[in-house]
Amino acid sequence: MREDPFELLRRMTRARVALGRAGDGLPTAAKLEFQMAHALARDAVWGKVNFDGIAEALAPRDVIEVTSAAPDRASYLRRPDLGRRLAAGEASKLPSGPFDVVFVIADGLSADAVESHAAGLVIATVARLAGLSIGPIVLASQARVALGDDVGATMRARLVAVLIGERPGLSAADSLGVYLTLHPAPGLRDSARNCISNIHGHGLSADRAADKLAWLVREALRLGVTGIGLKEAAPDAALETTASPTPIIHHKPTGARDHE
């Protein structure tokens, strides 16, 4: 039997090929499927993380809730600078440490990602870090990656790991990223961080992400470096730094950095 050529195209890629036509438009089902994918992404961006549920999942571990200087989601989207620092008075909620590792669970751009994967990843990672002092887990609203620098400095953390909702795509609205930074302090460059991205149901599993994160934590403490220096020492090429080793910026970079 002759193979359907459009079916062949579909098998070759995850892209939306061979969708069919209704005149010059999409068939209705394809049109609505696209709208649903976008709706899920929008809900993830505008959703509010249920941090109470995350605190429950993390119990009996201590948690501390903080908010960034961005008062609401609209301000958060318009003013990245506000999402990178704590609101006035929030630092006083944080103990002054010192700690080997502080975990920050930040909403970022996907409430869905944080609710689905963050608590499990923290628990799995902590289980792999016996012998290290771990600070209370910080739950941060309207937060970008660099908020971890403010938090980590206040808590005198040797390392801060920020778990954050990545900008949703149409194929995955619940993708979580982790950014690890040694000696966190406000004003650090992104090249000083290591990133594990694409943690979601069809991407990197929480267990595998915990393996990578625990390895990075121990190596960062042993070598005294995060960022490009640590990447070069890593045996696993899949470990990424947030900055390219060469000073090249693309006009259409991958979207993963939008929440920084």
Binding site: T13, V17, D24, L26, R78, L170, S244, H251, K252, G255
Partner: protein
């Protein structure tokens, strides 16, 4: 020539301390200018700025560079390449008078083309701020900028497209599938262009070779491009890769271009290298540039200029290298620069208008990210407006969903629909190819084809094997 600008209205005097403040305050409201802290702080002040701007003589933009000549090579390019003879017809006008000159019926394609070398980015940015969206469309629609490599782009009555079959792993099979899907809709007459997931010279050569084989298999009269950094393309050329177009992202200041890792000298070197291959059959426009409002601010290299004015300066960079294609990636940058559909649509029309007035072959990636306040309906709107403005080309991806860059653009359906709706046709060489392939009906439209159609069997059967 310094001194503050003033506008009086109902007894209130608005003062703008210098030209860059005046331009920033005259800009339609957008998040990027607010993020930079340079936007007008009230709606009335915004219009007052436009009133003051309308009275500014065009000559002032030549006498008073917004970024110093001594410290910025883009300013030097703009000033040194200014054509006084071309400028002569409007040399005595103010910004407000230039708007009316451009709107007048006798400012036709020929006159606008002759004027282009006499205009500077700052002049066109200024006049755009006095134009409504309808004005931007009306004036831009009169401009014609035609370029050639293997196809002719920008002719009257034509709407071309970049086929963008990106894949997160640069998988050749997946890229071939996206390409074939697009060809079946008549996409790809401007370029088949891939944003590579990995920017190194081996990956670049691999993709270039694959695209070239696909093009040769079907003898498609178009060009391909792998959107790597310009230095990667130069290396690929040195290693004998079949490279048609050199791509680079560019911006409107020397410092912002440094952030992209380029200088004007490096772009010239790349253009020379691409020209040396002599791969164009009907023309030698070998460069492809992307731009977008907010790029300079995000690199902290905007020198206090509003994002639209500094964007227009990128077109002076582009036109110095006779590009085949330039497009703004208007909604890609995110809501901190263009917050919602209203801002994205306005910016898309401004970018197209400014580029066309400067003689740049402008296209557009009509697009948005999922954290912007926009959806596919807004892209339908902007695409229709740009098509009415005679945009040179639009970017199309399978199902409007770019699975590598995680954003939404137009679909193959969308661009084909615009052609059918507005009676626009593909580039003539490509149109003839579509006809040869059996992909056009008697009225010149691309009909839906059953899977049993010979063209489908041939394209997919052969293409998937390639």
């Amino acid at each position: 020539m310094t001194g503050a600008f003033r506008a009086r209205h109902r007894g209130e005097t608005h003062v703008f301390e210098d030209l860059r403040t005046l331009l920033a305050c005259a800009s339609p409201r957008r998040s990027g200018d607010e993020l930079a802290g340079i936007a007008a702080d009230s709606a009335a002040r915004r219009v007052a700025a436009r009133m003051a701007l309308a009275d500014v003589p065009l000559r002032r933009f030549l006498d008073e560079p917004l970024i110093p000549y001594e410290t910025d090579e883009v300013t030097r390019l703009i000033i040194d390449s200014h054509d006084a003879a071309a400028f002569a017809p409007v040399a005595s006008l103010t910004v407000g008078e230039l708007r009316e000159w451009l709107m007048a019926w006798d400012a036709d394609a020929e006159r606008l083309a002759a004027l282009a070398p006499g205009l500077t980015p700052e002049m066109v940015a200024a006049v755009s701020k006095l134009c409504g969206n309808g004005d931007l469309i009306t004036i831009a629609a009169k401009c014609r900028v035609v370029t050639r490599f293997r196809s002719t782009i920008g002719l009257h009555g034509r709407l071309s497209s970049r086929l963008q079959p990106n894949d997160p792993t640069d998988d050749p099979q997946a890229i071939a599938a996206g390409t074939l899907d697009g060809l079946l809709f008549g996409m790809g007459d401007a370029v088949i262009g891939i944003n590579p997931a990995t920017d190194n010279v081996e990956a670049c050569i691999h993709l270039l070779t694959m695209l070239d084989e696909l093009r040769l298999t079907f003898e498609v009269p178009t060009q391909s491009c792998v959107l790597s950094h310009v230095t990667t393309s130069i290396q690929a050329i040195e290693r004998g890769a079949p490279l048609d177009l050199v791509f680079q992202s560019i911006a409107g200041t020397e410092a912002a271009n440094a952030g992209f890792g380029v200088t004007l000298a490096l772009l010239a070197e790349a253009q020379e290298a691409a020209l040396s291959l002599k791969r164009g059959t009907i023309g030698s426009n070998v460069m492809y540039f992307e731009t977008g409002q907010g790029a300079a601010l995000s690199a902290d290299a905007h020198h206090g200029l509003d994002q639209q004015t500094v964007e227009a300066r990128a077109y002076a960079v582009a036109r110095a290298f006779s590009p085949l294609l330039v497009n703004t990636v208007v909604g890609f940058i995110g809501p901190e620069y263009l917050y919602d559909a209203k801002e994205i649509i306005r910016a898309g029309l401004e970018d197209h208008f400014c580029a066309k007035l400067l003689g740049v072959p402008m296209g557009c990636d009509v697009c948005y990210t999922n954290h912007a306040e926009a959806d596919q309906d807004d892209m339908d709107d902007l695409a229709l407006l740009l098509a009415a403005a005679n945009v040179n080309f639009l970017i199309a991806v399978p199902g409007a969903d770019d699975i590598m860059l995680n954003y939404q653009s137009l679909s193959h359906h969308d661009v084909m629909r615009l052609r059918h709706l507005l009676g626009r046709r593909p580039a003539p060489e490509f149109e003839a190819w579509l006809a040869r392939m059996g992909l056009l009906d008697d009225s010149g439209r691309v009909p839906p084809l059953p899977d049993s159609a010979p063209a489908v069997a041939r394209l997919i059967g052969q293409g998937a094997r390639a």
